[in-house]
């Protein structure tokens, strides 16, 4: 693996060479049509970028010459310098020199740029119209230039998406072949299929790698955004960034961009207080906003933390009861994280109401849906007066996911690992019928448990989620899933292994059935349904509420 620095350098060189080619093209055009404003502007832009890029990465000679050339062209643009023959020669020489430098950035033996040329450049820039001073003849380094093509190709993300899909298909077929080769027991087939396994694995990682971008490409936009929002709100905010080097799938980053912007905006407008208010509370006048990224096994965690006023649990609860999201008597006993989960409810707050009572939650359901759509998780933690923290847990890749396989009523299902907390086996006696649900006591934590077979297969009219007698067998396998700060235990019939799966989206007309996140094919060729944890949790809540209200 190349170091990050080496990679940056290669990208710089490739880009610089492209600029160099473009400069050559444009200056040749300009020689023929000196009046062409557009070409001049383009040359200007290229030199300017080259100057900035080379300076950023530390190639000062390149940035120096770019700067001189840029100045010369700005004079030409403002008609202070005539695009005459001798000026043209100097400019061509200067651009050639840039090319030499770019080609030789890594060559320690390469000498300093020709001082005569540098002087010539200075002369045309500084002496303007007084053409009395002789321009010295520059000795050419090499007249027979090598033609070379760029080391970098730009590629449309669409093409990478297509490749990723193909790799997904290939993996499914590979698993099928491996399972067939096991059945047949042919040694040749076995060795070929294990080789195939390694190659597809490599291919998969290569394609995934090609899609990775630095989180910094998004994070680095925030200092300016934060400054602007803070200025508009008359607030002082210090933004600190970390983990810009962490890499993530480009499409995932694209999908969360709006969400992150939303959260940052919320944190400043509603979270962080005005300077005077902060000082009264004994806080520093400037609010602290931390945006950080870190890798966590196969996931990327993005944390946004502010030290603002936090979320007031009591008002959230009051609002939740008002909106009939929860019964008043139940609300009293909810844990903090359960209360906080209400802020993600659709329409939980419209802008006005929320600023009055807690200042959070404008369209947080939209944020949540975006995160859900890529199979990620969002959690929130807040303490009144101390601040709020949002944690986004994101997969590094969209297509391939670790998942837990299981069976319910002879149908294979999978749940992405990002939503599973733990797996437990409990005796039937450890499950209790409380009201219209079953609950289990797990290390002091009370968790609602639901029999998936009942939830998925019983006719909706006589579904009974609180009836233990519908369970099969004595020992129950339970997958604890977590969604929106809430835990739910899913009782399954048989538990299988953990496995990387390629989730295929459901094709029309089924793609609108939201309890399924997609399907996958197992090595045996069997179809396995991938459950969407957010949707199944919602479905469960709807079924309970429907019954509670006497509907259905």
């Amino acid at each position: 693996m190349k170091s990050r620095e080496q990679e940056y350098k290669e990208i710089f060189i490739a880009e610089a060479l492209e600029y160099f080619d473009a400069l050559n093209r444009h200056i040749s055009t300009l020689e023929k049509q000196p009046e062409d404003e557009q070409t001049l502007a383009e040359i200007f832009r290229l030199l300017h970028n080259l100057k900035a890029n080379s300076k950023a990465i530390g190639y000062l000679q390149i940035s120096d010459i770019s700067h001189k050339l840029e100045t010369a062209f700005s004079l030409i643009r403002s008609k202070e310098l005539v695009f005459s023959d001798e000026v043209v020669t100097v400019l061509f020489d200067g651009i050639d020199m840039l090319g030499e430098l770019i080609h030789n950035v890594d060559n320690p033996k390469f000498s300093e740029p020709d001082p005569i040329l540098l002087r010539n450049l200075d002369i045309i820039v500084e002496n303007l119209s007084e053409s009395t001073i002789e321009l010295a003849k520059v000795q050419k380094y090499n007249t027979s230039k090598n033609l070379s093509l760029s080391e970098l190709v730009y590629i449309q993300i669409k093409k990478l998406d297509h490749m990723m899909n193909l790799v997904g298909e290939l993996m499914i077929d590979r698993d099928r072949i491996i399972s067939i080769s096991r059945e047949l027991g042919n040694d040749d087939l076995k060795s070929v299929s294990s080789h195939l396994y390694r190659i597809t694995e490599d291919l998969q990682y290569s394609v995934m790698d090609a899609r990775l971008v630095n989180i910094g490409s998004l994070f680095n936009k925030f200092p300016r955004i934060v400054r602007d929002i803070a200025a508009a709100e008359n607030k002082e905010v210090n933004l600190s960034l970390s983990g810009q080097d962490i890499q993530i799938d480009r499409n995932i980053l694209q999908i969360i961009t709006d969400s992150l912007l939303h959260l940052v905006r919320n944190a400043i407008t509603h979270g962080i207080e005005k300077p005077e208010e902060r000082e009264k509370k004994g806080k520093k006048a400037a609010g602290e906003l931390r945006l950080s990224a870190q890798s966590d096994r196969d996931n990327v965690l993005i944390t946004l933390q502010d030290d603002g006023r936090g979320i007031d649990m009591k008002t959230v609860m009051k609002k939740a009861v008002e909106r009939q999201l929860v019964a008043a008597e139940v609300a009293k006993d909810l844990a903090d994280n359960e209360v906080l989960s209400f802020i993600f409810e659709p329409g939980f707050s419209t802008a006005k109401e929320i600023t009055e009572f807690s200042g959070r939650g404008v369209g947080l359901d939209v944020v949540k849906n975006a995160i859900d759509s890529i199979g990620g998780r969002i959690t929130v933690d807040s303490e009144k007066g101390k601040g709020t923290t949002f944690i986004l847990q994101l997969p590094t890749s969209i297509a391939v996911k670790g998942a837990l396989l299981f069976e319910v009523d002879n149908i294979y299902y999978a749940i992405p690992l990002i939503h599973t907390d733990q797996v437990v086996a409990l005796d039937r006696d450890e499950l209790h019928e409380v009201g219209d649900v079953i609950v289990a006591n797990l290390k002091g934590e009370t968790i609602t448990v639901v029999y998936l077979n009942e939830l998925l297969n019983a006719p909706e009219a006589n579904m009974n989620l609180g009836d233990k007698t519908r369970l099969n067998g004595q020992v129950q396998n339970i997958i604890i899933v977590s969604y929106n700060n809430r835990k739910l235990g899913l009782i399954v019939d048989k538990l299988y292994r953990q496995q990387d799966i390629v989730v295929k989206p459901l094709s029309k007309p089924l793609q609108q059935i939201d309890i399924y996140g997609g399907v996958t094919l197992l090595g045996t060729g069997r179809v396995c349904l991938v459950l969407d944890v957010p949707a199944i949790t919602r479905y469960f809540i709807n079924m309970r509420q429907g019954r509670g209200d006497g509907k259905e």
């Binding site: 294979y412 094709s507 007309p509 609108q512 399907v519 060729g525």
Partner: protein, 193 residues
Amino acid sequence: MARDKSITNPGATAEPKAAEGQTQGAKKGEADVAQPEAEMVHLIVFKLGTEEYAIKIDQVKEVTTTPSVTRMPRTPDFVKGVANIRGDIIAIIDMEKRFQIRPAELIDGLISNQSYTLVIEAKDYSIGVEVKEVPQSLNLPVTKIDKAPSFLQDVSVSENFIEGLAKINNRLIIVLDMHKILTQDEINQLSKS
């Protein structure tokens, strides 16, 4: 579009039947043979309930024996489930349930757990339609299809799907437009459940 429009021969029984269907169509259509310029249409004919239905062949991607279908809980009952057909996972639809067609009583001797699936290619997706008997192939002149029968307003089966009625030697074949089989209403209905 429909690249491999091969009709996978589903079994030994299929051949004579399909052939018979074709010869019938050709023999009784003598009048049309006399005018070779008459536009022909190629249909795949199958039975739902006790009636014959047909789909134009260019809407049919393939005919195959029904592979194992994975039931999908919490979908409308006319969705039998999903099946893996050559690596594509497609929805299998029970048309009798879909159109509330009374299933035919089982004829003695024809009891089989074998069924056939027509893979229909819509604009941007495929669906499978399960039928109990081997579908037949039939060529007939376009003129034999009555495009706009006035009675359609009275038919309970949503008239949108019926492209016309083909009448040929005392047979009446209902020609369906499969592209309209799942209209927006339908899709909405799916998402609600």
